[in-house]
Symmetry: C2
Subunit: 179 residues, 2 copies
Amino acid sequence: MALGKDYATQECSIARALEVVGERWTLLVVRDAIYGVRRYNDFLVHLGIPRAVLSDRLRTLTEQGILEKRRYQEAPPRDEYVVTERGTALWPALRALSQWGREHADAGRLRSFRHADCGGDVGPYGTCADCGTPVPVADVVMVPGPELDTAPEDPVSRALLRPKRLLEPLETEPAHLAD
Amino acid sequence: MALGKDYATQECSIARALEVVGERWTLLVVRDAIYGVRRYNDFLVHLGIPRAVLSDRLRTLTEQGILEKRRYQEAPPRDEYVVTERGTALWPALRALSQWGREHADAGRLRSFRHADCGGDVGPYGTCADCGTPVPVADVVMVPGPELDTAPEDPVSRALLRPKRLLEPLETEPAHLAD
DNA sequence: CACATGGGTTCAGTAAACGAACCGACAGTG
DNA sequence: CACTGTCGGTTCGTTTACTGAACCCATGTG
């Protein structure tokens, strides 16, 4: 991880995982990638992260095979960062953290997760509260809660005011349409 | 969290959770607490963490209600840090991270988790692979895997070479018995 | 041509982590 | 009583990381 000392001495798969995704901002970048954010600028404005740190995290996550950088247009050259299977495999951990946050750090509910097939809530074990089946990340729909800012600054937050199926690319308005 | 900038602008329960437990070392302290580590020195030698950082994390986690500091002997005064319900509620997140680590960052298996009642593996959704029921943290037994160091330096790692039921206090040998 | 956009890099200042040293209260040993 | 060791810390100088602002470059647009 760095800082002179890493967790390498730890014989523990939690430590190994945190060695990869435990740095500041890293899990939030992965979260956004799973939410469908793909472009540098969208990560930037949504996270409010310093550019140098974002560049570093995107590079590291790409090297780790959690994101994949790919050119989606040639002129001008533009790349996007798409979450890989290795990255989506972090979804259960993010979902569990989100659950804990809802129960122990939030006042109200900010967003919740629903099973796309039947509309049931995704329960504490990642299974659908209605139909009982485990919900894969691609079948999760994130729906906004009552405590969200209704007119956020950044276009990513605005796009996330509508229900959003995870993994699908997020469509943000071009900047010149901003109020 | 600090560093001048926190995640406070994030309307997201993952960010709220990471605001509390996202700092370096914090989740490993919670992990150890769930494994049954309770004493300052045991955290210290098992984690290999700088003392100042450990003191800070224990204080912060206590303030957050994730650990509870309590006096267990008067002369000399000795305190222990016991994980609270709020702390054990982080178990699903830790288990999911562990799962990811096993699949994507480990070579072999270091430790695994079993359902105490029936001996079945705790599966990817936190349910027992044998009997199918969700396994609460108190019913999890951690068993050592083949890749562990068989003669580790610190007494905590030595104690964890035997199967260990989570949450129960860990019994470490007194230092003068070390080889 | 001027200006905006996307995707970065560079750099100085600040905050955090590191590791070694130190400390106080007590217990056990000789 | 002195000596040694344990436990649970604090202090402090050094190294590393994060932050925020400025800058850069290629391209497209009015």
